[in-house]
């Protein structure tokens, strides 16, 4: 992939990449009622905004909240109630609290139906790299490795490429791994892509985008999902 191709792609009037919020909205459509879901810090948290209240999806926050609700009104803040991103949240009717040992027991034990995480890179075998890109800062992993190793269904929400145009879907991650072979599906600003035993399989693309054009900005080979 070279800069000219990237510029060509950007210039293509035929398709419009999704915004982060639009990716979250797209992903939210695939979460059925009744699932227990952990949303990673950052963009994945926005997914909750697009699950309508009448569709009961139970959000878990790894700091011990099962049944997390949206941000409180400014005059309704419980200052002891924060999510994993350290923002004030609420508890839904029917929600409950637990300590870290139980919370991560629940996560590691595979009881969540879905975890949505951001990523720097995903490899075609499902390897996830989402916790470190440099050794300049002190390493900080949080709960990412526990969520990635523990949740049977892991979806990634991320831009298809970096700001400078490098593909985040790769044959092999060169950033430090979070977990090996765990990603099941990727929602990007350009496409929805399954990770299969045969590699990346494109389920859908933004309107006007062709598989060939998508392949141009993707380092690993793509095929159409069966």
């Amino acid at each position: 992939m070279n800069t000219i191709v990237k510029d060509n792609l950007r210039a293509t009037p035929a398709h419009q990449p999704l915004t982060r919020r639009q990716i979250a909205e797209r992903l939210a459509r695939d979460i059925p009622e009744g699932w227990y879901v952990n949303l990673g810090i950052g963009a994945p948290l926005q997914v909750a905004d697009y699950v309508p209240a009448e569709r009961e999806v139970i959000f878990q926050s790894e700091n011990g909240i099962l049944g997390m609700g949206p941000a409180p009104a400014p005059d309704q803040i419980n200052r002891w109630l924060i999510n994993a991103g350290k923002q004030y949240v609420t508890l839904r009717t029917g929600g409950s609290y637990m300590g870290h040992a139980d919370s991560f027991g629940l996560i590691r034990g595979g009881h969540l139906d879905l975890c949505v995480l951001g990523a720097f890179q995903v490899a075609e075998n499902g390897d996830l790299a989402n916790w470190a890109t440099t050794t300049d800062n002190a390493p900080a992993v949080g709960g990412a490795m526990d969520l990635a190793a523990g949740t049977p269904r892991l979806w990634v929400l991320m831009d298809h490429t970096t700001k400078t145009g490098e593909s985040r879907l790769v044959r092999r991650c060169f950033y430090p791994l979070t977990a090996v072979g765990v990603v099941k599906r990727i929602y990007t600003n350009l496409a929805v892509i399954d990770v299969t035993p045969e590699g990346f399989a494109v389920r859908e693309m933004v309107p006007g985008l062709t598989l060939e054009a998508l392949q141009e900005v993707t380092d690993a080979p793509l095929r159409t999902a069966a």
């Binding site: 350290k86 390493p139 709960g143």
Partner: protein, 227 residues
């Protein structure tokens, strides 16, 4: 009469020795026992190993303790917050040792310490940098690594309600690491917003039974101001 409630910070901090492993509750600032941390600074123990999820915010609480230079090593999952100035500076200058542990593994290692399990296998971190040097083993077709229990000499815990037997409740997400740390330390010291009569806590609702608690100090500080 059993009475674990102490009347002064000095009493609460008695017998904490240099070189101790100190478990400090909280997730960010929520549930972090800042009064006890200040008491520990006042008490003066040094050469400490601190186990905590984060590495402190600004210049208060855990960050203030790090700033004294009395912490030799920190074991944590996420040494990064909105304002981790103190830790970052110490770390860049090579003046503090850092052991990064996945958050759930950290919790489980303390749960193991409290429950008499010396070591356990876990899928978390398999195939990553954080598994380097750890025993890997295949069990029923999947790879796991061996993790050791992580016991503390001292735990500093923040509770919502406490009685004289040391029974505790917590407030919503301020529970976090506090109950598991209470089980994992030889000496568990609690600061509690409220002190209640024995029998006031619902026996079905006690989150930390008093057996895990050594001392309770009443610290009705009100509401946390940062997350």
């Amino acid at each position: 009469m059993i009475n674990k409630i102490v009347q002064s910070m000095a009493e609460a901090m008695a017998d904490i020795r240099d070189g101790s492993v100190v478990l400090i509750g909280g997730f960010g600032s929520i549930g972090q026992p800042n009064a006890l941390i200040d008491g520990l600074i006042e008490q003066g123990a040094k050469d400490l190993t601190v186990v905590a999820n984060n590495s402190g915010v600004g210049h208060v609480g855990l960050a203030r303790l790090l700033e004294t230079g009395r912490v030799r090593k920190i074991v944590c999952s996420f040494p990064r917050t909105a304002d981790p100035v103190v830790f970052e500076k110490l770390w860049r200058e090579g003046r503090i040792e850092l052991e990064v542990v996945p958050q759930g593994t950290m919790a489980e290692r303390m749960r193991a310490a409290g429950a008499g399990i010396p070591a356990f296998y876990t899928p978390t971190a398999v195939g990553t940098k954080l598994a380097e040097g750890k025993e890997e083993r295949e069990i029923r077709g999947r790879k796991y690594i061996l993790e050791d229990a992580l016991p503390g000499d001292v735990a500093l815990v923040e509770a919502w309600e406490a009685d004289r037997w040391g029974n505790l409740t917590y407030n919503s997400s301020a529970r976090n690491f506090n109950p598991v740390m209470a089980t994992a330390a030889a000496l568990t010291i609690v600061q509690s917003q409220h002190i209640v009569e024995l029998g006031a806590l619902d026996p079905e609702k006690v989150a930390t039974p008093g057996i895990f608690v050594s001392r309770v100090l009443h610290v009705p500080y009100g509401e946390p101001t940062v997350t």
